[in-house]
């Protein structure tokens, strides 16, 4: 049976966002926020529940075709005050990514879902923790959707087509101290030299690569040195953003060659984590076409973007291999900052874009093939 649309006013859509942002939800501590979103969805015609991973998941319609709107409900640490100031709402998660998630829920309520279709909204847990626990649980337990939209901020008129890959490396260097008046490199100096070597290797690889999406970008996330008797121990945490032609496994292999110890007495241990392959979705499909039309209907020229970060698209995209983009209101340069805030007019425009996109997808017979 078709599921009729419910009326949702702009004030109600903004209230949902303000309510969800007011509930802190660091990675691993999302229970209260998930319960809140499930309760909201349940009272607005969704079949909703908190799944086994702790994510909030709600559906309208019965399928078998399904469009999955996969946002995340956890936030980066830090708590900018939740403040409503005219057309702006400030607070942790307003942009990354409760704004996109609430826009998904508000849009999914306000469209007729025809026979044969289902729209599912998911607020996944632990996207920010580099475990993507919620998305991985859905990947392992839910059927492959017909289409998927990842909830991440990209401005209401931009469609995100892809994300770079990632590899995190913890390097533990242990080396004997030498007299500071001598020639031998101290443990901390060796560690700095090791980092400089990694940086130079990446620069060499990037020599003829102009686009940020195509470059191998290293970052020294943390460095910490300590004394252990006659030895010094230095812990380096290094992150890499990977281009399309370099998989995490390829980089792991190369990395082992980049960290040759400077002397026999120096020991280097490496632990890898946070491995994600790059993913770039196709832009010639019914989902992208529906977004292009929907953004134009709001009087704006649509834009495409690829991003140097990662998202749950890196997790589900390579496995599902269905039409997939990321979309959501908000300025992603405010992600993780103390000044995180969202423009509410843009938030409401994104809801209109999502509603129009859903209507076109449901009407599009080609998307059923």
């Amino acid at each position: 049976m078709p599921i009729p649309a419910e009326t949702l006013t702009p004030d109600e859509a903004v209230d949902l966002l303000e309510r969800l942002v007011s509930i802190p939800s660091l990675s691993g501590e999302e229970a209260e926020a998930s319960a809140c979103l499930v309760e909201w969805m349940s009272t607005h015609g969704f079949e909703a529940r908190v799944d086994e991973a702790g994510s909030a998941v709600g559906s309208r319609g019965n399928g078998p075709n399904e469009i999955l709107l996969l946002g995340h409900i956890d936030t980066f640490p830090g708590s900018p005050l939740v403040v409503r100031d005219g057309d702006w709402l400030a607070g942790r998660g307003t942009v990354d990514a409760k704004g996109p998630l609430c826009a998904f829920a508000a849009a999914a309520v306000a469209v007729d879902v025809p026979q044969g279709w289902k729209v599912t909204v998911a607020g996944a847990v632990e996207e920010e923790a580099a475990t993507s626990k919620g998305a991985r649980h859905i990947l392992a337990n839910a059927p492959r959707p017909t289409m998927c939209v990842i909830g991440e901020p990209s401005d209401w008129n931009r469609i995100t087509l892809g994300y770079k890959g990632r590899l995190l490396c913890d390097v533990l260097l242990r080396a004997p101290f030498a007299h500071t008046a001598g020639q031998a490199a101290l443990p901390a100096e060796q560690a700095v030299g090791l980092w400089e070597n990694i940086r130079r290797r990446c620069e060499t690889i990037n020599t003829v690569r102009e686009k940020a999406f195509d470059r191998l970008d290293p970052s020294l996330r943390h460095i910490c040195s300590q004394d252990d008797g006659a030895y010094g121990i230095v812990d380096l945490s290094i992150g890499f953003r990977l281009p399309p032609d370099l998989s995490p496994d390829d980089l792991k292999q190369q990395f082992e060659e980049w960290i040759e110890p400077v002397s026999k007495e120096t020991a280097v241990e490496v632990t890898f984590s946070g491995s994600e392959v790059v993913y770039r979705g196709d832009k010639n499909n019914a989902l992208v076409r529906a977004f292009l039309t929907a953004i134009r209907a709001q009087g704006e020229r649509p834009r495409f973007v690829v991003k140097t970060g990662t998202s749950d698209m890196n997790v589900v995209g390579p496995v599902w291999n269905c039409p997939i983009v990321a979309y959501g209101p908000g300025d992603s340069s405010l992600d993780h900052t103390p000044g995180e805030r969202i423009n509410l007019t843009d938030y409401l425009k994104a809801i209109e874009v999502l509603k129009a996109m859903l209507k076109q997808v449901f009407e599009s017979t080609e998307s059923l093939s």
Binding site: R289, K307, G309, S311, S333
Partner: protein, 57 residues
């Protein structure tokens, strides 16, 4: 049945297959520009949105 429209970048004639749909992105065979099908009646092409790059999630 196929359609033809003018490339807005180089003015070459761009042929489109009969099953082309509005919103489809095609490439101009002359200049290589990516073009978006804006209309089929009459066949109209515009430059497709360029791919920007951005940091973040």
């Amino acid at each position: 049945m196929s359609f033809e429209a003018e490339c807005p970048e180089c003015a070459a004639g761009v042929e489109m297959a009969g099953d082309t749909v509005v919103g489809e992105i095609i490439q101009c065979p002359e200049c290589g520009a990516e073009l978006e099908v804006m209309d089929l009646n009459p066949p109209t092409l515009e430059l497709a949105p360029e791919e920007e790059e951005d940091w973040g999630e």
